[in-house]
């Protein structure tokens, strides 16, 4: 809200420059975002918190200024020059819904001459961003910005029987508001009606038919109080936010209603002439009970940890209207630890009902900066998330393996999500997405990983290794389920050409090797062919933990492979892309189990011996079969079996391939003799020939 400094100065004799007032208000919780010049004088732009509707007028802000500078706030009480005839002789007010309207006052001003407002008033309204309309309407707006209380002026002659009925809208009822729109109303909404029809949406906007026009002569001036929740609902339902609705929905001051009416009537008379009928028609079913609030030094110390002298406490609370009165046993004892004050909640401070609210009032006006800063004593040991160490180890490994971490937004295009989603998964959709292509929560990490690869490839970044630690979302019945996953995305070159080495493209073997390195943290992975539909059928795999920590972790941990052509084309990915996704909770559990089981194995004092077997095998023979055939022999000295070379073609006949297998022998007890090694080798060759039809190539 915009505030004119000279307008504030009408209510408090503050001489400080506007810049200083701005700073002090900001440090007392009335945030002034900007200070600018306007033809009407220096203009403060206040960004008010929703709990302070009392500051939505110059008078309310002047009260804060008065409290800050310990100056007197001038009274706005005033008397009217009234006509002999009484207002209630020409109008009547009925409230049918007191739960929505706590007070309704009506004043009648007769014989006004509606005209444009004088310059001084137009200038002030324009400075606040308002468009002047005519002197009567402008007077209501002026008082709204002055006292913070919304008013409405009706053309009394347009009100059937000159009557006001405050009631709920009838089902299907319609009304044209003064912005020209036809509004459909519902029974939740509070209406102002005359004897015949609706004339205003209460507290939100007046009706077109009863608005003040240049030919209007007689004015019924409404100043009322409406239930904040009702106004808020109505304003939301109609999509109609006005200066009035903003004040009512945050909580206007019911006591101010009559005074604002008086002030406005006087202003109308001043600007447009006419006579003010005597008295006010005031229906006040919701008169608030004045609330007493106790404020004690004990509570101040308990919450704030620092003291404030009596003089300050009393000065602040008095200036803000809380009328503090010492009520403890020794009221004469200054700054006593037992000091207690009985305070009265001012009608304009619906937000202040509890002792803590007064603690805040005292603290913010005394100054947050006056309380010392100190660190709390530590009573407990710090603790990270239970899986934090496991995640660190995994992340370190991934970074060591050359992966860059990404963070994605889980809102995805349902069409894209479907590409990666198994049929039995129910996705979580948003009821109110910002856009259709961000209307579903991802059910896989692959869908946003593919988008990250796409983004980079479209920007000439062709060699990528990315990972994300995040969540997937789905519904189990109506129950949302969030699952922690790791997603890897790999494309382009594993090694770029350099003066030291040749370029090498990444393949699905890179992904498998990397995943095995991750899997080692949890005791290793077991692989099997096959995978979800979005992977290339020949280069798709699932993997399990070799040693699941819990029975539930026996299910596949994840899948990996080359992105299938169908999906790659949807993302317009023109180079091979490899993706993997795995569930993290079982991996972390496996990591914990593996760490717990970790023990030292004695190093052999004797040398290990390697023997290479160059085998020619039939296509389709797997390394696992070779390993199995060797293991079946039960040679305890076999410490490892590795494939070191594999090729097809050349001198190798069609339908066969050559596999170079390196077996390492090691005994913990003795150096292996040539005779022993010859024996082992012979056994292995025989087993491979017999079981797999392997032919040993001469080496």
């Amino acid at each position: 809200m915009k505030l004119l400094y000279n307008w504030i100065q009408e209510f408090v004799d503050v001489a400080a420059p506007a810049e200083e007032v701005r700073a002090r208000l900001s440090l007392a919780g009335i945030a002034i975002d900007a200070l600018e010049d306007s033809p009407a004088g220096p203009l403060l732009d206040a960004d008010l918190t929703t709990n302070r509707p009392d500051c939505l007028g110059h008078y309310g802000v002047a009260r804060e200024v008065a409290a800050l500078y310990r100056l007197r706030l001038k009274s706005v009480e005033m008397a009217l020059k009234e006509a002999a005839q009484k207002g209630d002789e020409v109008t009547r007010v009925e409230i049918e819904c007191p739960e929505l309207c706590g007070r309704y006052t009506a004043r009648v001003i007769r014989g006004v001459k509606v005209a444009p407002s004088p310059d001084w008033l137009r200038q002030r309204l324009e400075a606040l961003g308002q468009t002047p309309i005519n002197n009567v309407v402008d007077a209501t707006n002026y008082v709204l910005f002055e006292l913070g209380h919304p008013l409405h002026a009706f053309d009394l002659n347009q009100l059937a029987k000159g009557r006001i009925v405050v009631r709920r809208a009838r089902p299907g009822e319609k009304m044209k508001t003064l912005d020209g729109f036809e509004r459909a109303l519902t029974p939740e909404m509070c209406l102002i009606a005359d004897a015949a029809r609706a004339v205003a949406v209460a507290g939100v906007m007046g009706g077109a038919e009863s608005e003040i026009a240049f030919e209007s002569r007689n004015v019924l001036l409404e100043s009322a109080w409406f239930d904040p929740i009702s106004i808020r609902r109505t304003s939301k339902a109609l999509g109609l936010r006005t200066e009035a609705s903003t004040r009512f929905e945050r909580g206007a001051d019911p006591a101010m209603a009559e005074l604002a009416s008086r002030r406005c009537a006087a202003l109308i008379q001043q600007l447009a002439g006419g006579e003010i009928l005597a008295g006010v028609v005031d229906v006040y079913p919701g008169r608030p009970q004045p609330r007493k609030i106790e404020f004690t030094r004990k509570e101040l110390l308990r919450v704030m940890g620092g003291d404030v002298p009596d003089k300050e406490i009393e000065g602040i609370l008095s200036a803000l209207g809380f009328a503090p009165r010492r009520v403890d046993a020794t009221p004469g004892s200054r700054d006593s630890l037992m000091a207690a004050w009985e305070c009265r909640q001012p009608s304009w401070r619906a937000d202040a009902t509890r002792e803590i609210d007064l603690v805040e009032e005292v603290a913010r006006h005394y100054g947050f900066d006056k309380f010392p800063a100190r660190l709390p004593t530590v009573k407990q040991a710090a603790a990270r998330l239970p899986y934090a160490e496991a995640e660190d180890r995994m992340r370190e490994r991934l970074i060591g393996l050359g992966y860059r971490e990404i963070v994605t937004i889980p809102h995805v295009d349902p069409e894209r999500d479907t590409l990666f989603r198994a049929e039995d998964i129910t996705p979580a959709r948003l009821a109110n997405p910002l856009a259709e292509d961000a209307s579903m929560l991802r059910t896989s990490g692959a869908v946003t990983m593919a988008a990250a690869l796409e983004w980079n490839l479209n920007r000439g970044q062709r060699n990528l290794r990315l990972f994300e630690i995040g969540q997937t979302y789905e519904l189990n019945g109506a129950q949302p389920v969030e699952t922690r996953v790791l997603t890897l995305g790999v494309t382009g070159l594993a090694r770029e050409k350099s003066i030291h080495e040749e370029a090498r493209a990444q393949t699905s073997a890179d992904l498998k090797g990397d995943l095995d390195q991750i899997g080692q943290l949890a005791g290793g992975l077991l692989w099997e062919p096959g995978g979800p539909e979005w992977l290339h059928p020949a280069r798709a795999a699932r993997f399990h933990l070799e040693h699941p920590a819990a029975p539930a972790d026996r299910a596949a941990l994840g899948c990996a492979g080359q992105l299938g052509r169908r999906v790659a084309e949807r993302f317009k990915l023109r180079q091979d892309v490899f993706l993997a996704e795995l569930r993290l909770d079982p991996l972390y559990a496996g990591d914990r189990a593996a760490r717990t089981a970790m023990r030292y194995a004695p190093l052999s004092r004797f040398p290990a011996v390697e023997r290479d077997f160059s085998l020619i095998l039939a296509d389709g023979t797997r390394l696992a079969q070779v390993v199995e055939a060797i293991h079946t022999l039960g040679i305890a000295e076999v410490s490892s079996i590795e494939a070191v070379d594999l090729f097809r073609g050349g001198q190798i006949p069609a339908g066969k391939f050559s596999l170079l297998v390196r077996v390492t022998f090691l005994s913990p007890d003795a150096t292996l003799t040539e005779a022993q090694l010859t024996g082992f080798t012979a056994c292995i060759v025989a087993a491979l020939e017999q079981n797999l039809g392997a032919v040993l190539r001469a080496t």
């Binding site: 929703t50 805040e360 800063a373 009573k379 710090a382 949302p480």
Partner: protein, 369 residues
């Protein structure tokens, strides 16, 4: 093998040496010749021949002397020859070794001059990855609070309105809900509505439901607000919630903690300022400002020429919140805060567009190793 001047293949008798006094000049001559040879051995091949000539196991000069001079010598000569040989041997061995070292050093120097490495050429760089800057910032904030004895906890991103709003003293139709436009899940009617949490604060409530005071937790996580994306808004961003509740936590401890955080994160010269504000779940509430780390407070574009930067909202836990978790509001007090991680990172590293975090352009990621 023999020397150039003295035959070691012949016996002493054949050389006419019969008296012990003749041994000394004989060995002296031998030593002079050895020293000349040593001087001549200047490169590796020459040194090897030199070494084999003198120390070769069978045909080396010393071996030959043992074989041809010493062994057949009559007893009266044996003693003198043996002693002279024992004196010569360590000299030969030491000089041979010294020549080797000298030759190798020389060879290295020559090689260095010839093949000096061009250090402007790159080494073999194994590609290495990186942590996302948001993750780095989370870790930095976590470390700060771990040092203060906080425990890290987390909670679900999909929440009920109760935990996201009601239990935080934000009833339905509270104006504060306007400032946190919320995504709701599309669910069949009749089911508890679910939303994407608009802040990490619901975890405060979960944590207090689950444990008795004292409480000292931080909650890192993703949060969602239905804002149209632009350079300063993303409908998903990251927060670290903090909560400390105990019988002896006051505004002063709140202030101390916030100041510690700000100086640890932004630097020891950065000042903190608390401005009264309003949040339904804290009272007193404050906006935490930091003096501008870019200009030091004199005013610049980052701080919109105010010298101060608004960092995050915080305050003393509103007693009403304790009511929702059955904590004794009369006995307990505490503070809570919600840091915007993305904002912290943007301020610290001069990033002007929040969308950069989530586009994951590797040219961006590479800048934060």
């Amino acid at each position: 093998m023999t020397t150039k001047t003295i035959s070691v293949t012949q016996t002493l008798a054949q050389l006419g040496v019969t008296r012990p006094t003749q041994a000394s000049p004989l060995f002296a001559a031998l030593r002079r010749e050895f020293d000349r040879d040593a001087e001549a051995a200047r490169e590796e091949a020459g040194w090897k021949a030199f070494r084999d000539a003198w120390l070769g196991r069978k045909s080396g000069v010393l071996a030959q002397i043992t074989e041809n001079w010493l062994k057949p010598a009559p007893p009266e000569l044996k003693r003198a020859v043996g002693q002279a040989l024992n004196e010569l041997r360590p000299h030969v061995e030491a000089v041979v070794e010294a020549r080797r070292a000298a030759i190798e050093a020389g060879a290295e120097q020559a090689a260095a001059a010839r093949e000096r490495v061009d250090l402007s050429l790159p080494g073999v760089e194994r590609p290495i990855g990186s942590r996302h800057l948001i993750r780095q910032t989370f870790e930095e904030i976590e470390r700060i609070f771990l040092a203060l004895g906080y425990t890290v906890v987390e909670g679900p991103e999909i929440e009920t309105p109760y935990y996201n709003f009601e239990a935080l003293n934000i009833p339905e139709h509270h104006p504060a809900r306007d400032t946190m436009d919320t995504f709701y899940l599309h669910l069949p009617p009749g089911i508890t509505p679910r939303l994407l949490r608009t802040h990490t604060s619901p975890v405060q409530v979960h944590a207090m439901e689950a444990q008795k005071p004292p409480v000292r937790i931080i909650v890192p996580g993703k949060v969602y607000r239905r804002d149209n994306p632009d350079a300063t808004h993303s409908f998903m961003f990251h927060q670290v919630e903090g909560l400390a509740v105990d019988t002896d936590i006051t505004f002063c401890e709140f202030k101390g903690t916030v100041e510690y955080l700000v100086t640890q994160f932004f630097g020891p010269t950065v000042k903190t300022r608390l401005r009264p504000s309003y949040f339904p779940f804290t009272e007193p509430s404050a906006e935490v400002d930091a003096s501008c780390h870019v200009c030091g407070g004199s005013g610049c574009r980052t701080c919109k020429f105010s010298g101060w930067i608004e960092l995050f909202g915080a305050g003393m836990v509103d007693p009403a919140v304790y009511g929702f978790v059955n904590y004794d509001a009369k006995r307990l007090s505490g503070f809570a805060f919600g840091l915007g991680v993305d904002r912290f990172a943007m301020l610290k590293y001069g990033i002007n567009d929040i969308q950069l975090f989530f586009q994951n352009d590797v040219r961006f990621l590479r800048q934060f190793p």
